[in-house]
Symmetry: C2
Subunit: 445 residues, 2 copies
């Protein structure tokens, strides 16, 4: 009997817990699901005999240590900032840990200790990061083994709404943390193109987009992720001349979103004076330069040549120029925008979300400069089943659950802090994902 | 005999120390000037008999306590972030303190203790903050006493170069910390206009400028300071419908500066890859979207309608498109831009700097709605004498020195953490400044 402790029973843990429960019988697992909300944990286990739900507050040190101590492996679906204490307990108590979060400096620093303790601390095992690493490495390792050399790698991912439920001009609804969508891209995007480092500051990130086609799903657009450079090393692409990671949206979204960026409505580092008393119209007024004409006329003039086709009708659709009271105290512009959008971009009961990922590889057959160049496009589209088993929940949770099972089976065994870029991890995880309907389509040219 | 300890003997302490030494004889002062550089401290006291220079490292707690303990009043010209320990010592050892820095939260929290200890902790007593507060309060208190009510208050200040030495198209040379000039305006400017709060994010701060005229010196332009709201209370203008504080530049500067803002070259929160090996041309290339044409053509296209008259010739004058190696390791874009500009905007040996300040008040004669409206414009222009006794050194240092003398004379005596917005402080300081040639010209209409 192996004991798995799942910490956090939120939205993205649904498919994960479902997978664990489904396999609990034959693989002899006992599952404990802990959340600050006992009700949420109970809802997820549905009274399954191999499972228990508990109220778990990870700030309660003795409870945390007890539950981790009683398990063989811990899955932490907590927000990234809350993993550290759990990871430290896991190393000390010699328990494996799987998360879907980026490796923080602090987690990275546990590597030597984890190795000594013989413990696997596997991170970045969800969708993005997660499936992106694993699916890219499948192709990269294969081409390298064939003696090929990569010229270019572009990788895109987006959490969108299924085409059949895409009934707003933004082509967008929230299928995960809305706050992250509002704040997306702040900072400066860094990538490399034909051997030259390129920087796109936030003020023009949503104007410098790329277009791509996904077979059967039409065109998408992408804005550059903040960091496309740091994965060159783990991907074994140290000297690749072009590498870009981007986030997908439906065409037209980015140019319209830039209205909010240019106005300053996505800023989150200060509070709007009297935000609880203002109307949305007054908020907009506060960000527009003074001048003649209606607010909408002034907005169009203000945006000038930055305004692309269809953007103002996307803006109009949000009905932000209204006399409703905002009603949020000490709110940043981003918090206010989020409140408005959460209403407009709500995933409705019957709506299905959709995950789209595409890798574009360009490589030479061999290291000889004139050897033939080939393209591989590898694409994944996953749609959600309903509001619980969303595409987001499936693609984030299933690889985590699969990897956890593989660690307990001794199939993933290299100890230390790691991400799923090695064959030991990505091969069995991708194989199992494929059997669950999460598979990439490759085209070659 | 009263003992004054001056901590920090840098550029802005020159006139301050000169004033103290000049009065040391008749006012029975003994002056100690401490700096991490003994040579710098010695250079400033010039062997004056009532003074001594010491090497002083404020991180050396016992030395710091000893020197503060031996003084009656401390003047701290340290960077703002280093005042706190000095202020805490001053309260504990019951010594008065004068600084030219903004009141931090931590310094503000010492208020009750300072009151109990009978100690004056006077901050914001330089130019801006300092003379701006004092000169504004002279007018504000006077009009309030006459029963008037303010409709609008705009206040501008800039450290520039004297017209006779203004020989570059930017109309700008560095007369103080260049880093602050590069990073100026980052965040979001907040002010109030006709009763409506207004916000200008950094991405368009240098495009939404105002023009003003200073009699005898022609036109200037101003961009909004980050915070124009928090001074409404200390200025006793709680309900004023319009209040804006801004920074002055020569006309055309702001639009040209916006080239660097839009490119992303003023960002300071990340490092450019391989910054030590790149040339300036390559740096610029990394920030410009790809496209046909020369780098300069692409820049013009990139700036589009944001580019005002004369801006591209200002850009050309900086010769940033060159093949010199940057040579700075792990440098942010802002650090690289600073290195280039420090060379181009260097105040030459014979150059004089110039401080310009202007307040524009609009007020009703009485609280009756239809009472006549008047305008007062109050302007100050100060030119430097040379590279040591710059206008910046005079206007920052003299009010600090004068206030210190007034505290020792018992003329400023209200204990606690304060800024010079009360008559007790601004009246005698402004009177003495006037006798030193620092005086405002008022026009009425």
């Amino acid at each position: 009997m192996k004991h798995i402790l799942v910490i956090g029973a939120g939205r993205s843990a649904s498919s994960l817990i479902q997978y664990l429960l489904h396999h609990a019988g034959d693989r002899k697992w006992k599952i404990t699901v802990g959340d600050v909300s006992l009700a949420l944990a109970e809802e997820k286990i549905k009274g399954h005999p191999s499972s228990r739900a508990i109220a778990l507050d990870i700030r309660d040190v003795s409870q945390r240590e007890k539950e981790i101590g009683n398990s063989d492996l811990v899955i932490s679906m907590l927000p990234a900032s809350m993993h550290l204490e759990v990871a430290e307990d896991c190393v000390r108590l010699r328990k494996h840990l799987v998360t879907a979060s980026y490796v923080s400096k602090e987690i990275g620093a546990l590597n030597e200790q984890a190795k000594k303790a013989g413990v696997v601390l596997l991170n970045e095992s969800g969708l993005d990061p997660g499936i992106d690493h694993m699916s890219a490495m499948q192709v990269i390792d294969r081409i390298h083994e064939q003696g090929g050399e990569f010229i270019s790698f572009r990788s895109y991912c987006g959490g969108l709404v299924a085409p059949e439920n895409n009934d707003n001009p933004w082509g967008y609804k929230f299928s995960w943390n809305p706050r992250n969508v509002i704040l997306a891209g702040q900072g400066t995007a860094q990538y490399i193109s034909e051997g030259t480092y390129r920087y796109i500051p936030y003020n023009r990130l949503f104007l410098q987009t790329e277009e791509l086609r996904v077979e059967g799903y039409g065109m998408f657009e992408a804005y550059a992720n903040r960091d496309s450079l740091s994965y060159r090393k783990p991907y074994r692409l140290e000297n690749i001349p072009t590498m870009l990671r981007g986030t997908l949206r439906m065409p037209g979204y980015c140019n319209a979103w830039n209205i909010f960026v240019k106005l300053g409505l996505t800023d989150d580092f200060y509070h709007i004076q009297d935000s609880e008393k203002l109307t949305y119209r007054e908020l907009l007024e506060a960000f527009l330069p003074a001048g003649p004409g209606t607010l909408r006329d002034r907005l169009i003039r203000f945006m000038g040549t930055d305004l692309g086709e269809g953007s103002i009708s996307r803006f109009d659709w949000l009905e932000i120029v209204n006399d409703q009271i905002i009603g949020l105290t000490n709110a940043s512009p981003a918090m206010i925008l989020q409140q408005l959008l959460e209403e407009k971009w709500k995933l409705q009961k019957e709506d299905k979300d959709m995950i789209v990922m595409q890798h574009q590889f360009e490589y030479r057959e061999s290291k000889t400069p004139n050897s033939p160049v080939h393209l591989i496009t590898s694409s994944l589209v996953v749609k959600g089943e309903d509001q619980t088993y969303t595409a987001m929940a499936k693609t984030v949770g299933l690889p985590v659950a699969i990897a956890a099972g593989l660690i307990l089976d001794g199939k993933i065994r290299t100890p230390g802090v790691c991400i799923p870029t090695t064959k030991e991890i990505y091969e069995p995880v991708m194989k199992e994902l494929e059997s669950l309907g999460i598979h990439f389509t490759e085209t070659h040219s």
